[in-house]
């Protein structure tokens, strides 16, 4: 039963991280076919705060909510069509990203080096899926896909990673309580 209690609390936290990811997607700045979002910051935090298992559950449920048509993707869109659309690759990429980040964070037990490494690998996974997908769907050349789907975001993503580390340090005690 103690186990159960904890499970329900983690379920609530995972849903909360998914909701935060949705809010981070809602605040999207359109600069081209791919917008600047805060979504991936919360993907990072889901892994860092909840660990591999619950982080993955959070992001998987987030994607499912979007697939079912709930307005949780960039600028409040949803539906399976959005996943098949130009930015679908990033969305799928969040899954391996959160798995890496969560696994490394668990291993590192809060040491920033592990968190940082996890987020770098995770970001690589997001672009690894996102950019080719963008090329495929919009039939751009690779150089164009990189120019529109990766370079403009690198600085922003670096800031998000830099912010995620102290945030995780401050918030971990709250999540780990009991």
């Amino acid at each position: 039963m103690k186990q159960d209690t904890n499970q329900l609390r983690m379920t609530a936290y995972a849903s909360l991280m998914a909701a935060l990811t949705a809010v981070g997607a809602y605040i999207a700045i359109p600069i081209g076919p791919v917008p600047i979002v805060l979504q991936n910051l919360f993907v990072f935090l889901a892994g860092l705060l909840l660990g591999r298992k619950w982080g993955t559950i959070a992001i998987a449920t987030y994607l499912l909510a979007g697939v079912c048509g709930l307005p949780v993707f960039a600028s409040g869109k949803g539906g399976i069509g959005h996943i098949i659309g130009p930015t679908g690759g990033y969305l799928i990429g969040y899954l391996p990203a959160v798995i890496f980040i969560g696994a490394l964070a668990e291993k590192g037990k809060g040491r920033p080096f592990f968190d940082l490494t996890g987020m770098l690998i995770g970001t690589a996974a997001i672009y690894g899926l996102g950019v080719p997908w963008l090329k495929l769907v919009t039939h751009m050349s690779f150089s164009k896909a990189f120019a529109l789907g990766m370079y403009p975001f690198l600085l922003g993503d670096a800031i998000k990673i830099a912010v995620a580390i102290p945030l995780a340090r401050k918030l971990r005690p709250m999540v780990a309580k009991n």
Partner: protein
């Protein structure tokens, strides 16, 4: 109020993970049908004690029994028998509509759909919210939200109902509505435990007043007798008693 003891707390202690003692060696018996006020300054352990009565928290030492059956090991029974209205009305809303929220508890008990519906309707009627059944709970006023929380508990048909600070942030009509509700529940035979910094609205209903301080029970007994000593423990004495003294 009968003579049967419905809640029995024995030598209950709760130590938090940081070492602080939330509740410290508390023993308390509550009789069936009684209306108990639990008072005490901020941080005296009221919420912590209440949460042991339905097994939301587990004791570090001591036991709690409901009708003679220990809470530990019979959690589901305890939660069905002991309903709890939380302080923050917003954070306990689960449903998307008022009706759905009230149906949450009985739905969890695995009852048949028809039974759930009947209980939901009855609970909504009791708190006077049937006309709001299909409204989103977040659109309700403060007093209505609190009544919704009560309905959500009533639909589980508990014998005991715990109220944690039921009057906070409520206006006067809201307080009166909640007090009326409590009065009706008492007449129906429910056992009621209320924590509040403001005893005024309920002191007239109470059979017993318990004063907590630093996790311990420091006074317990007849409201009129105990209330006179309340000020010594940092509790605002009810106006009714100040009046008596003044008059």
């Amino acid at each position: 109020m009968s003579d049967d003891i419905i809640i029995e707390v024995q030598h209950l202690s709760h130590r938090f993970s940081n070492g602080a003692m939330g509740v410290d060696n508390v023993s308390l018996c509550i009789r069936e049908g009684a209306f108990v006020i639990m008072a005490g300054p901020n941080g005296s352990g009221k919420t912590t004690l209440l949460r042991h009565l339905n097994g939301l928290m587990m004791p570090s030492a001591g036991t709690v029994a409901i009708k003679g059956v220990p809470v530990k090991g019979n959690l589901l029974r305890a939660r069905r028998m002991v309903g709890m209205v939380f302080q923050d009305a917003d954070s306990q809303i689960v449903g998307e509509t008022v009706r759905e929220d009230v149906a949450f508890g009985p739905g969890n008990l695995g009852l048949e759909a028809a039974v759930v519906d009947r209980r939901t309707d009855r609970a909504l009627e009791k708190v006077g919210l049937p006309h709001k059944a299909d409204v989103s709970p977040h659109l309700l006023s403060g007093g209505e939200k609190r009544r919704l929380a009560i309905a959500g508990v009533l639909s589980m048909q508990p014998e005991i109902i715990l109220f944690d600070e039921p009057f906070s942030n409520l206006d006067y009509p809201g307080i009166c509505q909640v007090v009326e509700q409590m009065k009706a529940l008492k007449i129906d035979g429910h056992t009621i435990v209320v924590t509040s910094h403001d005893m005024d609205p309920v002191i007239g209903l109470a059979d017993s007043l318990v004063i907590l301080d630093k996790g311990r029970i420091v006074r317990e007994g007849e409201p009129s007798r105990v209330a006179a000593e309340a000020a010594a423990f940092g509790i605002r004495p009810p106006a009714a008693f100040m009046q008596k003294e003044a008059g």
